[in-house]
């Protein structure tokens, strides 16, 4: 098993950033929200603002780990005819425009499972993806998925939670490549106004387990302000994942795309700045 592979864009990015002493800004967008045409320009704005890694959501009908913002965005995208195939095709276009940008897909297990895990991962790799995040895939059920992904040099990002006990944390780290996704709170995705007391401790615990395997830890769920970012980075996070706060900004500016894109760029810039603090 390869623990590290410099050829993977995600690993390369974390190496580069850690040498500069800054945390990675991972920005989530939903494929097909508000429409497929905008997806590429939204990514371009986030990258211009300083996004280091892009996470493209492929909508699923029953997103159990997601709060209202993501549920609405995925519902909207599906209503507009978004499919996994169309999402991968869009990713192909984005890959052509940003050859070095690390891009991960986030979706629920049934989507790759329906096509067949290996087939889906093959298509994902051909589209230019660097890895996958499946929030309802626990390590126990993941053997064939991880093996297939390793063969294709795709990252498999697993999630850890504040209540994940230490021995289990080690198996989450072991199965993860690219980075370990620490869920900062007890809850679903969605912007939150404050940081929970237990989050710093959860980051320290995850960092300790991941450090032994030399894997970075990125923290997500509920992060929506530069102050949140500073808190997480201060507690040791190697990366910050922002999702619902981006979707909220898209939603607020549906009537004015130009404004939407400039808002997204300046939001990414403010968050990235906090990653360097």
């Amino acid at each position: 098993m390869r623990l590290r592979n410099e050829a993977n864009r995600v690993d390369a990015k974390f190496c580069e950033l850690s040498a500069n002493g800054e945390a990675a800004l991972v920005c989530y967008i939903m494929a097909g929200y508000p429409d497929l045409k905008s997806t590429e320009s939204i990514i371009a704005s986030l990258v211009a603002g300083g996004a280091d890694i892009i996470e493209v959501g492929i909508p699923f009908s029953d997103p159990i780990a997601d709060g209202p913002t993501m549920q609405q965005a995925s519902f909207y995208a599906l209503e507009n005819g978004m499919t996994p195939r169309k999402a991968l095709k869009a990713i192909q276009g984005i890959r052509a425009r940003f050859p070095d940008l690390p891009i991960l897909a986030m979706t629920y297990s049934n989507i790759p499972f329906k096509t067949g895990i290996e087939n889906f991962l093959n298509e994902a790799q051909r589209a230019g993806l660097d890895g996958m995040i499946l929030p309802d895939m626990p390590v126990e059920e993941s053997e064939s998925y991880v093996n297939a992904a390793r063969k294709l040099n795709l990252c498999t990002v697993f999630l850890a939670s504040p209540n994940t006990p230490e021995p289990r944390l080690r198996s989450v780290v072991e199965a993860s490549s690219g980075f370990v996704y620490l869920v900062s709170v007890y809850g679903t995705t969605g912007a939150r106004s404050k940081v929970e007391d237990y989050t710093a401790n959860a980051i320290k615990k995850a960092k300790y387990a991941a450090h032994l395997a030399q894997k970075p830890v990125a923290v997500g769920f509920g992060i929506s302000t530069p102050a949140h970012v500073k808190f997480m980075v201060g507690a040791g996070a190697d990366g910050i994942i922002v999702g619902s706060a981006i979707i909220d900004r898209i939603q607020e500016n549906l009537g004015n795309k130009k404004l939407m894109l400039s808002e997204l760029e300046s939001f990414a810039r403010s968050m990235k700045k906090a990653c360097k603090a």
Binding site: A65, P84, F113, P135, P138, L159, G187
Partner: protein
């Protein structure tokens, strides 16, 4: 739990079905539940306590009733009804809610959440929580709230809080999604009381165990009434808990044919149905690998049935396994036939069945006709039909209107 238990699930799986496809936050809670259930399932004190409530509070055992008029009407094998409609609460759901309620109390959990489709599991949960001193919050799709108003009020009378779910198809599937989201957010002090043999391990096995009292009683009662094992048992399947509870004690009695009847809605070809085992494909939903009604991309489809309790795009993983190994047969019954069985049983036996088991009754009438008169069929009458009277009334009105207009 019973001496005839066959040797599964293994690692939470029935063959390839089942498992625990859940967000990481829920893993410690599921593990806690698994070890609590392993500790108490064979604990004499727990079993006595459950038996006490099932008997003194809920009215077990329920009768096995020889439906002579229905038998004469069908003109074939003898039909017996397992009267779960007479259980406290009006449906088999109480077996499970008392079992899990007592377990939750022993685990020290005070806040209980549950999903409900037709409202029967919500009512069952509200009752168990009231009597056991627990606090109940029930998630219910807004579409189901519309068609099952009576049950919503019953839950409220029993002290439960009902949350309306407006996402997706606004039915049982979405109520489960929302209950899971609540559980993720409140995992440290909340018990999720799942109502069917679905979800991540250990729910399918645990709910089946709590419902197996149905099959165990049938076995004892049939020995007296029929002089031995019945030739066939029939039950309706949505998630599949009353069917699994009925089938399980008979799994190793190969002379007993097992029939699970799904909701055929407006017919399989119409695409408007909930017949997951008949028309579904392998997938992952609500923490389990099982058959699903889904499109080619893996998006879960909206289901249709006149009975809210069968309106679910997945099915318990043990049923998926029993279908594969051909130990049970699964068939679908359309809305029209279920309503006709609903009317027939009401008129012939003075029993108004719920629409869910009306599907099983419709199938049993046909099955009886294909069997000898000295053979015996047991149908699990999983609930009573008070909640469905308005739905049936509207259905008949609409049908008469169509007939008059020549449509």
């Amino acid at each position: 739990m019973s001496s005839d238990a066959i040797d599964y699930p293994v690692n939470g799986k029935f063959g390839r079905y089942g498992g625990k496809y859940i967000p990481e936050t829920l893993v410690p809670a599921i593990e806690e539940l698994e070890s609590a259930y392993a500790r108490y399932r064979d604990d004499a004190d727990f079993k006595n306590e459950l038996e006490y409530y099932l008997k003194q509070y809920a009215g077990r055992p329920t009768p096995l009733y020889f439906a002579k008029n229905l038998t004469d009407y069908a003109g074939g094998a003898r039909i017996f009804l397992k009267r779960e409609d007479l259980l406290h609460g009006g449906a088999h759901k109480t077996n499970n809610t008392l079992g899990q309620g007592l377990l939750a109390r022993r685990m020290g959990k005070k806040r209980i959440i549950a999903e409900t489709g037709a409202g029967q599991h919500g009512v069952g949960t509200a009752m168990a929580c009231a009597v056991l001193g627990l606090q109940a919050e029930i998630y219910m799709g807004s579409k189901d709230i519309q068609r099952q108003k009576l049950n919503v009020f019953r839950m409220q009378l029993l002290g439960a809080k009902v949350h309306s779910v407006d996402s997706g198809s606004r039915t049982l599937k979405d109520a489960i999604n929302e209950a899971i989201r609540d559980w993720i957010s409140n995992v440290r002090d909340t018990y999720y009381l799942l109502g069917s043999v679905v979800g991540p391990h250990p729910y399918p096995a645990m709910v089946r165990d709590f419902q197996s009292v149905i099959g165990r009683e049938i076995k004892e009662q049939a020995a007296k009434l029929c002089g031995g094992l019945p030739d066939a048992v029939v039950a309706c399947v949505g998630g599949g808990s009353n069917a699994m509870g009925t089938f399980y004690p008979f799994l190793n009695d190969l002379s007993v044919s097992l029939y699970g009847i799904e909701a055929g809605g407006q017919g399989i070809k119409s695409g408007k149905h909930s017949a997951t085992l008949a028309a579904g494909s392998l997938g992952i939903l609500h923490g389990m690998m099982t058959y699903l009604l889904q499109d080619d991309d893996g998006q879960v489809l909206e289901t249709h049935s006149i009975s809210a309790g069968l309106d679910y795009p997945g099915v318990g993983p043990e049923h998926a396994f029993l279908k594969d190994i051909k130990r049970a047969k699964y068939a679908a019954c359309v809305d029209q036939d279920a309503v006709s069985a609903f009317l027939t049983l009401s008129k012939l036996e003075g029993i108004i069945p719920a629409l869910e088991p009306s599907h099983a009754i419709a199938y049993s009438i046909k099955l009886a006709q294909s069997m000898r008169k000295d053979q015996n069929i047991v149908v699990t009458l999983s609930g009573r039909g008070d909640k469905d009277v308005e739905v049936v009334q509207n259905y008949l009105k609409l049908k008469n209107k169509h007939m008059r207009s020549g449509a």
